[in-house]
């Protein structure tokens, strides 16, 4: 009698318990507290946090206001990747560019880049054409350049791994070649395995 009651209940409970172990694909907020956290990689929330922190510092410093003809013009220089992984540095710099543009304090040039390469070659061509036609150079040279480095420092103690990612940025005055603002954001993650959520 007992078996007749208990067995069906157990049989029904096992698939339910098993089903609870996995999660169906679903949307989460980018960089939100339900994001996957891995120790050996830079996660999207790390880029968002680093960019947000350094943008706040940059805007609060007021250096972008110290130009003769505001808003300041910003050119993106080299961001060195010294981590053990392939990194698209735009994940960091684009967020900063968007933020400074929205702040109204700076504009980023897309026609001047490292080694003479333009982010937007068509815009560069049109700009040169306009300068040639008008016989006057309308192009504003950048007031500042933004350069930086991403460094990873990994250590291990027993089963516990720890990675520190250091995001470093320098804003250089293009006229003087002096760094007028420098920012650093360090993010450290520790654990024995990857996890979902902070």
């Amino acid at each position: 009698m007992k078996n007749r009651i208990i067995l069906p209940i157990l049989a029904a409970a096992i698939p339910l318990a098993g089903g609870g172990c996995g999660t169906n694909a679903h949307y989460i907020q980018t960089g939100g507290s339900q994001s996957v956290v891995t120790i050996g990689q830079i996660n999207i929330q790390d880029y968002i946090q680093a960019a947000s922190s350094m943008t706040s510092e940059l805007l609060a410093s007021g250096v972008l206001d110290r130009v003769a003809n505001p808003p300041a013009i910003l050119a993106i220089s080299r961001i060195v990747n010294n981590t053990g992984q392939q990194v698209d540095t735009d994940l960091l710099t684009k967020k900063i560019r968007v933020a400074v543009l929205q702040s109204g304090k700076a504009l980023t040039t897309t026609t001047m880049g490292l080694g003479g390469t333009a982010e937007d070659p068509m815009a560069k061509g049109l700009q040169q054409e306009n300068d040639f036609k008008s016989d006057v150079q309308n192009t504003r040279t950048p007031d500042f350049t933004l350069s930086g480095k991403i460094i990873q420092l990994a250590v291990k103690a027993g089963d516990t791994s720890q990675s520190t990612y250091s995001f470093q940025l320098s804003l250089t005055d293009a006229r003087t070649g002096l760094a007028v603002w420098e920012g650093e954001k360090e993010i450290t993650k520790q654990g024995t395995r990857s996890s979902v959520g902070f």
């Binding site: 907020q29 507290s33 968002i48 947000s52 805007l59 609060a60 972008l64 933020a99 929205q102």
Partner: protein, 138 residues
């Protein structure tokens, strides 16, 4: 014999519990030079557990030289153990509209037992006049 085992276990438990405690001491100058501009805050608490452990002591604000609103929040861990939480700032323009174009940074943070610490942020544009900070326990 049984009492001996019980006492050993009780001692081990006490050691384990005291090992988890991670309270913090601090010292600061008594005569403050700076004056914080405290602002009246409005709170919505749905996680009483977190609010009981990590309480908001006060909120102050200032304007940066570039005209950005800077907000600083003082937090106090009322427990004797480390607490982990995340927070993010939301910013609002003068007409009350939230600035949603940037992905908000969810910032994981921790506070030691008994620690009093500050978190702060700067508004993304000079047009931002109001703010809201959301906390979630990790």
């Amino acid at each position: 014999m049984k009492t001996g085992i019980f006492l050993t276990l009780a001692g081990a438990l006490l050691l384990a519990v005291s090992g988890c405690s991670n309270s913090m001491n601090s010292v600061e100058n008594a005569q403050k030079s700076g004056q914080r501009q405290m602002i009246a805050d409005q709170r919505a608490v749905t996680d009483t557990g977190l609010a009981g452990k990590v309480s908001v002591v006060g909120v102050n604000s200032a304007m940066t030289s570039g005209g950005f609103l800077k907000v600083q929040i003082e937090l106090l861990n009322t427990t004797r153990s480390l607490q982990r939480f995340s927070y993010h700032f939301e910013w609002f323009e003068a007409n009350g509209m939230q600035l949603t174009t940037l992905t908000p940074a969810e910032i994981p943070d921790e506070i030691q037992g008994g620690e009093d610490k500050f978190i702060s942020s700067v508004a993304p544009t000079p047009a931002c006049k109001d703010f809201r900070v959301k906390f979630i326990e990790n």
